[in-house]
């Protein structure tokens, strides 16, 4: 895919536009995944690795796995609550 060459007349054709949109969507998805990953590592490190030893122990990895699942749960609860609030504000 090459977007550096401006198309004739400065306009993208339909197929190029489609590709561009897909690329934008993919980049946004990557950015969101990175943000989630970073926050999860941060939160679960704080919750589960209170005194770092020479390696991650069994109980620590178990805690981290559980913490990751709960973080996703929390994310979904927050997302749902915020969506419902937005809908209520809009119907006011």
């Amino acid at each position: 895919m090459d977007f550096s060459t401006p198309p004739p007349g400065g306009k993208f054709d339909g197929a190029q536009k489609g590709q561009l949109m897909e690329q934008v969507k993919a980049q946004i998805a990557v950015a969101n995944a990175q943000e989630l990953l970073q926050k999860m590592s941060d939160k679960c490190f704080k919750k589960c690795v209170s005194s770092p030893g020479s390696s991650l122990g069994n109980s620590e990895t178990k805690c981290i796995a559980m913490c990751m699942d709960r973080y996703m749960d929390a994310w979904n609860v927050v997302s749902r609550a915020y969506t419902q609030r937005l809908q209520r504000e809009r119907n006011k």
């Binding site: 926050k39 805690c63 927050v78």
Partner: protein, 87 residues
């Protein structure tokens, strides 16, 4: 960007991304407020706390905006008065 289709697309993606970003930041804050030690599943108490946390955060943000709007004029008036005094 004078392509209307592209403009609509970018506006809607920007809107969606703003939503996602706020969910990231709310989850971050409300996790610290509500989460004890992570268990086998999310318990009712934590879930209620998360929902309340989101609701009260939005209340707070609305209150801040409204109060500043209402009192903004007073602030500006006072500011200009005190500037007058110094001149």
């Amino acid at each position: 960007m004078d392509d209307p289709q592209m403009q609509r697309f970018l506006e809607s993606e920007t809107q969606k991304q703003r939503f996602q970003q706020l969910v990231h930041s709310l989850t971050d804050q409300c996790w610290d407020t509500c989460m004890g030690n992570p268990g086998q599943k999310l318990d009712r108490k934590t879930e209620t706390c998360l929902v309340n946390c989101v609701e009260r955060f939005i209340d707070t943000s609305n209150f801040v905006v409204n109060r500043l709007e209402k009192e903004g004029e007073n602030y500006i008036r006072k500011e200009s008065e005190s500037v007058d005094k110094w001149n």
